[in-house]
């Protein structure tokens, strides 16, 4: 079976002849980097520094230059703590819950392309898969809320369940507009369409869908904000009323996993949003005279990830900026906003996109 997998595997890099074992190691390392580097970067740049500067303070300054090693110090602290579980908790699934949440993040990053050939998998229905596995984290959160045997956890878990399901719909509908316009569900194809396209004959910036699908982009970003349970949609955590929501009982490295998952998911959603709306890893292909994705130079596999990270940090920066400035909605207001404003708007956007697609 291994031989068969190996035979299927490096079909896109025959000339490099990377052996299977080396490729596996590279992929594991790549996956970890793609999940942990955004998480660490977001925590340091935005949570530690941007928030502090907004609040007229310095943030961590002791560990490393400008406190850059603070996160490592915190990880060390969390790893040393006891792995506690409440007496009445359903211990087995209580311990499993954070892993499920993190699993969803890893499953998501699998589908994200970082270059013309630098991807983990190249699904034909990539965006469909991404939206499907994004909702796995709801399971983990519900499990965490239910199994903690704590009333605050239960309330937080149920709120999270309601909220994540409600905001999945506008997200899917906002993505539909992009899929209609690109004519494909493959993420690399969506990037290619954006970088080779043109708007009314002007092609020097390609056709990033953030321009033509601006309403879709806004809805997508709002839905992402809610999916990540960041303020103003942080009802499930709501530290001033539910202590810490579904995470109340978690301590030590299980809390750390929730924490990483929160920010890693922010990073992955930033990646997906940049793929869908900002042209992903690509620069407009006309700059270098490329016709399509098969012409793209090999070095884009190394420059592409950097471009992706830049775009991702820009998008996550906006998410965090909103998070640090806004108070939170109430549960009913939040549901009303999703069902009565976002979903009708997304539906109208989808219909308009479909009509315009036929017209042009």
């Amino acid at each position: 079976m291994l031989a068969q997998l190996a035979a299927e595997f490096p079909d896109w890099y025959p000339e490099w002849n990377i052996p299977y074992w080396l490729m596996s190691i590279l992929r594991v390392v790549g996956g970890l980097v793609a999940v942990l580097l955004p998480a660490g970067g977001i925590v340091y740049i935005f949570l530690f520094k941007m928030m502090s500067f907004m609040q007229s303070r310095l943030g961590p300054m002791e560990a490393g230059p400008y406190g850059s090693m603070q996160l490592l110090a915190e990880v060390g602290k969390w790893m040393q703590k006891e792995d506690l579980a409440p007496d009445n908790a359903d211990v087995r699934i209580y311990k499993m819950a954070p892993l499920i949440v993190l699993l969803s993040t890893f499953l998501l990053v699998v589908v994200v392309p970082f270059g013309p050939q630098a991807y983990f998998t190249n699904f034909e229905t990539g965006i469909f898969y991404a939206l499907a596995v994004a909702s796995v984290s709801v399971l983990g959160i519900l499990i965490a809320g239910w199994s903690s045997a704590n009333k605050y956890s239960l309330l937080g878990g149920l709120r999270a369940g309601g909220q994540l399901i409600a905001y999945e719909l506008p997200m899917v509908l906002a993505t539909l507009g992009v899929v209609i316009q690109a004519g494909s569900m493959n993420l690399n194809r969506i990037i290619e369409v954006q970088n080779t396209g043109e708007i009314f004959g002007i092609g020097w910036i390609g056709n990033p869908f953030v321009i033509t699908q601006f309403i879709g982009f806004l809805i997508f970003m709002i839905a992402v904000q809610a999916e990540l349970t960041q303020s103003p949609f942080d009802m499930p955590i709501a530290e001033s009323e539910l202590v810490s929501g579904y995470m109340t009982e978690y301590s030590g490295f299980r809390f750390l996993i929730f924490f990483i998952a929160e920010f890693a998911t922010a990073g992955v959603f930033g990646f997906i949003a940049s793929v869908l709306f900002l042209g992903g890893w690509g620069v407009p292909f006309t700059w270098f005279g490329w016709e399509g994705i098969s012409d793209v130079a090999w070095w884009m596999n190394f420059v592409g990830p950097l471009i992706m990270f830049t775009k991702m940090f820009a998008l996550v920066g906006v998410i965090m900026w909103v998070r640090f400035s806004y108070p939170r909605f109430r549960e009913d207001q939040l549901q009303t906003f999703a069902w009565k404003v976002l979903i009708p708007l997304a539906l109208a956007n989808t219909a308009a996109t479909a009509i315009l697609k036929v017209v042009f």
């Binding site: 609040q55 303070r57 009323e241």
Partner: protein, 389 residues
């Protein structure tokens, strides 16, 4: 009348069926214990809430986790020593706690502070109100997940605390008021610095007005929530901004004749007809601005002269009873002082504002959602030291 076996059996069966139906249809409530250790309570207030889903059916505050027995302790202190105790009642606006007690003692001794001391007293009183309420304005955001305003509040409140420290020597617990005047005169340059700080605080009020009160989410969380009509507010003995937000035009600074110099300044008592959480917060914002105005005006009107009248070295308060209440940052705060002619008071009854203000919590929380518990409690604004004396 006796039932046959068959009748009895059918009766039992029908009862059992009813019972089963009831069990299936009734949703079980949940008792949520908020506090005494909970991030939303400023201190160790405990609230027991019976929930149906996320709706509160019944709620009750439990006070007393931090009771320090100040009323009893005053009986074993001399009159000048009591100020260091009552300082710690409302710890955010400490100086304001001393004033009514000192005024009550002065009333019994029939002395009056010199005019300079009265004006400085009023200025410090208002500064402690600003120090108190500015933290409330910042903390309001935290209750709703907006973490930035509180840091701005801490930053700008620092100016006021520095001023209080500069004048009295104590940042939180000045212990500066004396029977017959003040401990010291103002330090050099203090007036000029205060003028600058008051400007900074006015800017802070504008920032909060813009950042928080102008926010649509904040408004939707606050408007129409926790409405307390005027008659209910009167029944429960609300005072201060909570009463004025329900449309009760009543402010002890204006409506009472005390040896404090509020009549020297031109200011306004704000009221709001709505009585909801928004009104309570908005009133406090406006009051902070008014306090800045009062301080700014009084700074130019400090008369020359001593800050202390002649009082005996060992203070013995003549026999009698006195009640003095002032408009403290949290509401009406009063001391009923009974003296038997000794060095210390025979009995002191402290009427603190928060203790009465939270008595409305069971009424106000009935039927609201869990997130609104927090905003209503935040807007009622209590300091735990003011509840548990």
């Amino acid at each position: 009348m006796t039932l046959t076996d068959r009748q009895q059996l059918s009766y039992i069966a029908s009862q059992a069926a009813d019972a089963r139906l009831n069990v299936e249809l009734e949703t079980e409530g949940m008792t949520l214990n908020i506090g005494p250790q909970h991030p939303a309570t400023h201190g160790t207030l405990r609230i027991i809430a019976r929930l149906d889903g996320e709706q509160v059916v019944w709620a009750e505050p439990v006070a007393g986790y931090m009771h320090r027995g100040y009323e009893k302790l005053t009986e074993v202190r001399t009159f000048p020593q009591v100020t260091s105790l009552v300082n710690r009642i409302d710890w955010l606006g400490s100086f304001a706690n001393e004033v009514p007690f000192i005024l009550a003692a002065e009333k019994l001794m029939e002395v009056e502070a010199p005019p300079r001391a009265q004006v400085i007293r009023t200025i410090l009183f208002e500064l402690s109100r600003i120090a108190n309420v500015s933290l409330f304005l910042g903390d309001l955001g935290v209750q709703m997940g907006a973490i930035t305003p509180v840091f701005l509040a801490f930053r700008d409140r620092e100016y006021i605390l520095n001023l209080i420290e500069g004048a009295t020597g104590g940042r939180f617990h000045p212990n500066f008021d004396r029977i017959g005047g003040l401990k010291d005169d103002l330090p050099k340059g203090w007036i000029q610095e205060t003028k600058g700080a008051v400007k900074k605080l006015e800017e802070f009020c504008d920032t909060i007005d813009d950042l928080l009160f102008g926010n649509e989410i904040f408004q939707s969380r606050m408007r129409g929530i926790g409405v307390i009509p005027a008659d209910i507010a009167k029944d429960y003995g609300l005072s201060g901004a909570n009463a004025r937000a329900s449309g009760i035009d009543w402010d002890l600074r204006r409506d009472q004749d005390l040896p404090l110099s509020y009549d020297l300044a031109d200011w306004k008592v704000w009221t709001h007809p709505d009585g909801d959480s928004w009104a309570r917060c908005w009133i406090r914002l406006q009051e902070t601005r008014e306090s800045c105005k009062i301080v700014g005006q009084l700074l130019d009107q400090i008369p020359a002269g001593p800050v202390m009248t002649k009082v005996p070295r060992i203070i013995k308060v003549p026999e009698g009873e006195a009640w003095v209440a002032t408009e403290n940052p949290l509401g009406e705060m009063g001391y009923y002082v009974v003296s038997k002619g000794d060095l210390g008071p025979f009995r002191v009854k402290i009427r603190s504002a928060s203790f009465n203000n939270i008595s409305i919590v069971p009424w106000a929380l009935k039927g609201v959602y869990v997130p609104d518990i927090i905003t209503i409690l935040a807007s009622l604004y209590f300091i735990l030291g003011d509840i548990d004396r």
